[in-house]
């Protein structure tokens, strides 16, 4: 049988982990091994309903399992959130270009995440941790709306304790139990122990957050080619054919979803 590029691979939901009231992590077991590079995305099929694009949040080194951390926000995700262990979904991909880990060697890696945008970054972090000697250090700054909206609540404190890793979380609105910083994520970037001249910054989060983080990073002295952004677009085919995810002369699905700010800075309205 000829390969059909639109046909998904069957996968079983093996485990569902509640992250917040609207975010769950789904552990999938694909019918056959499935590999991806960190930062690449997949199209997830909810049978009979449709597809939506997600970047895996699991370690790319693991081929037989795949984890996706997904917020309940649209048609596909609401159906997905209603699914149970043992249910069948579909996978297509991986698509696009991931993070160029080779370019990060010997550098300070400054990672800024917002909300569920920490999902793709978790996959990146796992990749970095598995070869941590190659990098100078990893600095993570994560912003969440409130303490209860924080994802990976048990992992974050573990990461903070790791050697060569510096991790700090801020919430927009605190609660009585919250001891950490209160304020937008941009308020905890300035003091980060990062040597800008030998660093790369990696940003993933809602468009408005990415916009202001990018502006802050430029203020701190980061150069556009050293700022990596994950662009959220409506991606249907994932193959650079369906036309939905155009950003200037690029398609987010084929040329991204990870872009440097250098690639995007002269394009109008990239944050919309």
């Amino acid at each position: 049988m000829k390969k059909n590029i639109y046909q998904p691979l069957k996968a079983t939901i093996e485990e569902i982990i509640d992250e917040t009231s609207v975010i769950k992590t789904f552990r999938l077991k694909p019918e056959s091994d499935f590999s991806f590079s960190t930062g690449q995305f997949i199209e997830l099929t909810v049978p009979g309903i449709g597809e939506a694009p997600f970047t895996p949040s699991s370690d790319p080194g693991v081929k037989e399992k795949l984890e996706l951390t997904i917020m309940n926000t649209g048609e596909v995700t609401s159906k997905l959130h209603a699914m149970r262990k043992g249910d069948i979904v579909g996978l297509r991909g991986p698509y696009g270009k991931g993070y160029p880990l080779d370019k990060f060697k010997g550098k300070d890696i400054f990672i800024v995440g917002g909300g569920v945008g920490l999902a793709p970054l978790r996959s990146l972090l796992f990749s970095l941790f598995s070869g941590i000697d190659k990098y100078n250090k990893v600095v993570l700054r994560y912003g969440s709306r409130s303490p209860k909206d924080i994802v990976y609540k048990t992992l974050l404190p573990e990461w903070a304790k790791m050697n060569k890793v510096d991790c700090l979380v801020s919430v927009d609105i605190g609660d009585p139990s919250w001891q950490g910083n209160v304020g937008l994520v941009t308020t905890i970037l300035g003091d980060a122990p990062v040597e800008v001249a030998n660093a790369v910054a990696i940003v993933c989060g809602p468009p408005i957050m990415m916009k202001f983080v990018t502006l802050k990073l430029l203020d701190l002295g980061f150069k556009p080619p050293e700022i990596y952004l994950s662009m959220e677009k409506s991606m249907s085919c994932g193959l650079g054919k369906c036309g939905h995810c155009r950003i200037g002369k690029y398609y987010a699905c084929k040329d991204g979803p990870v872009f440097t700010y250098e690639q995007l800075k002269d394009i109008h309205d990239i944050w919309d």
Binding site: K2, I5, Q7, P207, K233, G240, C242, G243, K254
Partner: protein, 365 residues
């Protein structure tokens, strides 16, 4: 390439021979509601053509089309809505075998558009299997345009109204018959079996065709003068520099978001994958989509990069004249004018491009 002369009376024999192997589509004259009123020359033809199945039409209704058909050629290769795959149970169990298509009445603007469609569906890392199967097996019988419609503007972008490549056969009307170019091995195999009705073209006939083509060019150029359509070399520059222009708001006022311009366009290609759960198997469809529709770029969280109508109109021009020029090397517009005649809001691509050009190069004082 070999060229033969085929007499008028033998054209049907040519069609019949092709229809033995192919599902042949031929031009017929149709009545259409799409009528852009010609404001300059009432003498221009207003007939419309449609490509229909040879096996279904009355033979006396078959005509030689003087210019491109109503429907975009791409519809023969990627249908408006079709099954892309079934998945999980029964996946791929029934491979559908289609009879190869032979398309007669394809014009040079259509051939130009096919280059854009090929880039999308055959290029990149992955190939669209449905498109490829149809494209590989198709027989293209192109033809010269002896006339043009009011909305035709191919020559503005240096696309001539007669094909010289990209076809299997090409028909050029001449005196009481046609010159038949035989361009590919596929076409040659058919031509060999039609020796009895094909005579090698004479030098006189070939120069006669040359003269007709030249006169057609002159007539079309004369018609296009009034529109002052910018040269293709300027297109990318003017759409980018005109990003914040008021032209987009102004021109989108009469847009009713019918998406007709997109669906009639021969270079538009956008589609959506949509799943169907009404049957016992899960099916995935590939259906045409268009950037003038308001949910085209809407994401699950509710964000929409093209939330206003003027943004969507502008997006269409940026895609055609910035994206494609950057990625393919030429614009995704063939000058067929289908978008002009379908638009109920009288939005005219020729006018928008001229305005953009004038705004950049002749700023109002």
């Amino acid at each position: 390439m070999e060229t033969y002369f085929l007499k008028n009376d033998d054209l049907l024999k040519f069609y019949e021979r092709i229809s033995q192997e192919y599902e042949l589509y031929v031009p017929v004259r149709v009545k259409s509601v799409l009528k852009a009123g010609c404001e300059c020359r009432s003498s221009l033809p207003t007939d419309d053509y449609s490509l229909q199945k040879f096996s279904k039409v009355k033979k006396e209704d078959i005509v030689f089309s003087d210019y491109r058909a109503l429907e975009p050629t791409r519809a023969f290769f990627a249908r408006y809505k079709e099954e892309a795959c079934e998945y999980f149970e029964n996946a791929g169990s029934k491979e559908k075998k289609e009879k190869p298509q032979a398309l007669c009445g394809i014009k040079n603007c259509d051939l130009f558009s096919l280059k854009v469609q090929d880039f999308v569906f055959l290029g990149g890392n992955e190939v669209d299997p449905l498109y490829k199967a149809r494209r590989d097996s198709a027989l293209i019988i192109a033809s010269d345009c002896p006339h043009f419609k009011e909305v035709c503007f191919c020559r503005a972008f240096d696309i001539d109204p007669y094909p010289v490549e990209g076809f299997d056969f090409n028909l050029s009307p001449l005196n009481n018959g046609y010159l038949l170019d035989v361009a590919t091995p596929k076409a040659k195999a058919i031509a060999v079996s039609l020796k009895a009705i094909l005579a090698p073209a004479t030098l006189g006939q070939l120069s006669g065709r040359g003269a007709k083509r030249e006169s057609m060019n002159l007539r079309l150029d004369e018609h296009l003068k009034q529109y002052k359509i910018p040269k293709k070399e300027t297109l990318q520059d003017i759409v980018l520099s005109g990003y914040n222009s008021g032209i987009w708001t102004e021109e989108s006022r009469t847009c009713v978001e019918c998406n007709g311009c997109v669906f009639m366009c021969d270079t538009c290609h956008c589609f959506l994958l949509a799943d169907d759960s009404s049957s016992s198997n899960s099916k995935r469809f590939r259906a045409w989509d268009g950037c003038l529709l308001k949910n085209f770029t809407k994401v699950a969280g509710g964000g929409n990069a093209l939330r206003l109508r003027f943004m969507r109109l502008r997006n269409r021009y940026l895609k055609k004249f910035d994206f494609f020029i950057s990625n393919l090397g030429f614009q995704a517009c063939c000058g067929c004018g289908r978008c002009i005649e379908v638009c109920p809001g009288k939005i005219d691509i020729r006018r928008i491009l001229r305005k953009l050009y004038e705004e950049k190069h002749i700023p109002a004082s």
